[in-house]
Amino acid sequence: MRHFLDSVARCRWALPALIAVGFAFVVACEYFPLLNDYSKIVLITVGINIILCSSLNLVNGYMGEFSVGHAGFMALGAYASALMTIKWLPASVFELPLGVLFGGTIAAAIGFLLALLSFKTRGDYLAIITLAFLMIVKSAIENINYVGGPRGMTPPVLTNLPWTFFWVVVTLWVIRNLIYSKFGRAITAIREDEIAANAMGVRIREAKILAFVTSSFFGGVAGALYAQVNFFIDPKSFDIVKSTEILVMVYLGGIASLGGSIIGAVIFTVLLQVLQPLGTWRMVILPLILVLLMLFRPRGIMGMRELTWFLPAGELFKRPKP
């Protein structure tokens, strides 16, 4: 079985074929009643969580920082996209992609600022800066009446399964290519030993900017998709609890691993829905699983390792056969 999976993974057409099949399936769901609307919402939520998880993993896992402000980028993306679709754009088939792109861009711009701040501080102090940033974003939105303030906004529902699938694929593709490029190696070098990397001539500042901007861009994309599926956004949806949820997903699935991000997002979302009958006890069980996982597998389920499917050809043939 292992050999079969490995050889399938090594076949260059395996992953694109899988994506094509998936895409066909989700498009079919739009036209045939294969899944009920509730399942569709769950799957869309899984997709959004995958995007959130992998984008945060870039900064927290691959670069080794501890950012707790990811919900802030989500908020920026959500509100930017909502503004686009409610007030500025007429209804058209381009509404969603434009909204999402705008959301991502705004989030990325702020992410750039955060990257600049990160040059001076590291570690736990950066965590505080990201936390303060999150609180500022939330409070700022509450005070701006044009975006509804604390009453929230009601964006039109545009997200559907095919679009979510599309954006998930784009996110994973971009991040994966980033990781296995020279910038990705610079990012991992920062995690391992920033001073040594600097001494070796690695361009620290550029790598940091790239990591933060990419991470926040996709955080904004996820936020935009979230806004366009939820009928209603308010500042309360993007608070520290949301950031904590994203963190739990990342560390559950495994740091520095795209496969881990997918696993973490899927497990978290699905468990949360399936355990609904337990009420608040499910939020006791989930963190308990996380704690136990940390004790036995401190890097998460797939920490620092990657699904063979994601590795580019160069990596694949370099790996020693187990």
């Binding site: 501890f66 500022i136 739990v248 704690v291």
Partner: protein
């Protein structure tokens, strides 16, 4: 006008002393283990609930001081227990894992309490609080007690750190953790004691908070925990005096922002100000940049 300022200052002192007590717990743990104990905010919440249980369930009416000591001991033991079970096995793992474990523990505590007590509970008064008036300035004896107890605990901690051998051991561990066992100091025991004291302070803060604002709920530790963490970092995480300073700064900023500006901007202003402080003093006001080993 001076009465207004004086009144707001008293408000700020009360809020600030509670933030300071909680921030102390964060700084102490960070000082010895270089780890952010995110379960601290929820230990704070448990302190309030422990006080409620002791005050309500026991048939005997205990004096205030006894309940305070009991709460501190119980929560302190709980803190040390969590360290033993969840953090010690992760001493050699990447730092982030320990932090996430702390986050997880905090969530478990919070949601267990939420499941057992979904409604906010009312904290009964432990003693008669009288209101003293100086002109239009009103101070309740409860406020005075809270500020007094908080300051007393902080001074006690300072004494502990600077004048006892335990304090010296703690400072040694934060200075160089690897050499300390070579000096014959039982590191694990010291760390457990540190958690005991830090959690005890957090529990005390919870009890005082519950008395000041007699509605306690399972989620009250979340926001306060994060705010106190920010306060600890502003002052310089790892520094005891920094934590106290940070706590009072945060309390002061929050109250004064409301006092002199439209109250909707409170959070925006306080966090922007804190961010600004960090931009100019990236390691906090009293903090030391960590020695980077080359």
């Amino acid at each position: 006008m001076t009465f207004y300022l004086a009144q707001q200052t008293i408000n700020a002192l009360q809020l600030g002393s509670i933030y300071a007590l909680i921030a102390l717990g964060y700084s102490m743990v960070y000082g010895v283990l270089v780890m952010i104990n995110f379960a601290h905010g929820d230990l704070f919440m448990l302190g309030a609930f422990a006080c409620l249980l002791l005050a309500v369930l026991l048939p005997v009416h205990l004096p205030f001081v006894v309940i305070l000591l009991l709460v501190m001991i119980v929560i302190g033991l709980l803190g040390a227990f969590i360290e033993r079970v969840a953090y010690r096995p992760l001493r050699d793992a990447p730092r982030v894992s320990a932090i996430i474990t702390a986050l997880g523990c905090g969530l478990v505590i919070e949601n267990t309490t939420l499941s057992l007590s979904p409604y906010p509970q009312f904290m009964p008064e432990l003693f008669d609080s009288r209101t003293l008036s100086f002109g239009s300035l009103t101070v309740t004896t409860l406020q005075i007690l809270i500020i007094g107890v908080a300051l007393g605990l902080m001074l006690g901690l300072d004494f502990l750190i600077r004048r006892t051998s335990f304090g010296m051991a703690m400072r040694a561990i934060s200075f160089d953790a690897r050499t300390v066992p070579l000096m014959g100091i039982p590191v694990n025991r010291m760390i457990s004691l540190t958690f005991f004291v830090g959690a005890g302070l957090g529990g005390a803060a919870g009890m005082l908070y519950g008395l000041a604002y007699p509605q306690i709920s399972a989620t009250m530790g979340v926001l306060i925990g994060w705010k106190a963490f920010i306060a600890a970092v502003i002052g310089g995480i790892g520094s005891i005096r920094g934590a106290v300073l940070g706590g009072f700064i945060l309390g002061g900023v929050e109250v004064m922002a409301v006092a002199y500006l439209p109250s909707t901007y409170r959070d925006l202003i306080s966090y922007s100000l804190l961010l600004a402080i960090l931009v100019f003093k990236p390691y906090g006001l009293l903090g030391q940049p960590p020695n980077q080993k080359l």
